[in-house]
Symmetry: C2
């Protein structure tokens, strides 16, 4: 894979990928890719990641149907981070929010939810 | 530090921080923070990171003057990634671009520069 040769994967074979809504420009999530998940992303046009907790390839939306269609792929100056602009089907966060970054730090050091839930996780994922 | 207790730092004591322009919503860079750099960011209102290559605390803009004034701090659902919205003084990338993500992948697998340089690195950083 020529594109991988020009990217710097870390000691675990991973590269962080920031996912941004191509239209609204909202930052949706950050996850890790290895060479295989990047290849699958390129082949299918849908984002795939490497789940560090489950130790497996992960098609974003495989359970929820909330896939991300790739619009463009960018890399940073050091070639050690990706920025992928997507069209998000449904919503990104498994907790029911448009973006995983739905908590904001308050002046007194607490974390406050500053977004509205757009779906009910129990309905989309079933009881877990 | 109460805010750190609610964040998940990795085995190296680091947490990735995605930096976004609060106004234009452009994703500017991704870098890592440890507890100390996060504390300095909170104390000063300017982003500080941990430089893995130099092994030291790093005030973004310490050489260039291109500091980032913190507008808001967000965390993701797993509390293992930060999103920091900033007002960027000057430009983010040490290579002279507004964002570090100035290269885009082309259909034939090459990386193309898709942004314009906004400053000359040699002028800002001197000969290196």
């Amino acid at each position: 894979m020529s594109q991988a040769a020009e990217l710097k994967f870390d000691a675990h074979g991973l590269i962080p990928a920031v996912i941004q809504d191509a239209e609204t420009r909202e930052v949706l999530m950050m996850a890790y890719m290895n060479q295989h998940s990047l290849a699958e992303t390129l082949r299918t046009g849908k984002t795939h990641f490497w789940s560090r907790s489950r130790g497996k390839l992960w098609l974003k939306g495989e359970t929820s149907g909330h896939v991300q269609e790739v619009v463009s792929i960018h890399k940073n100056c050091y070639s050690d981070c990706l920025l992928i602009k997507v069209r998000q089907v449904g919503a990104t966060c498994h907790m029911g929010y448009t973006s995983c970054f739905f908590r904001e730090r308050t002046g007194d050091g607490k974390w406050q939810i500053t977004a509205e839930r757009v779906f009910d996780p129990a309905e989309v994922y079933g009881e877990q």
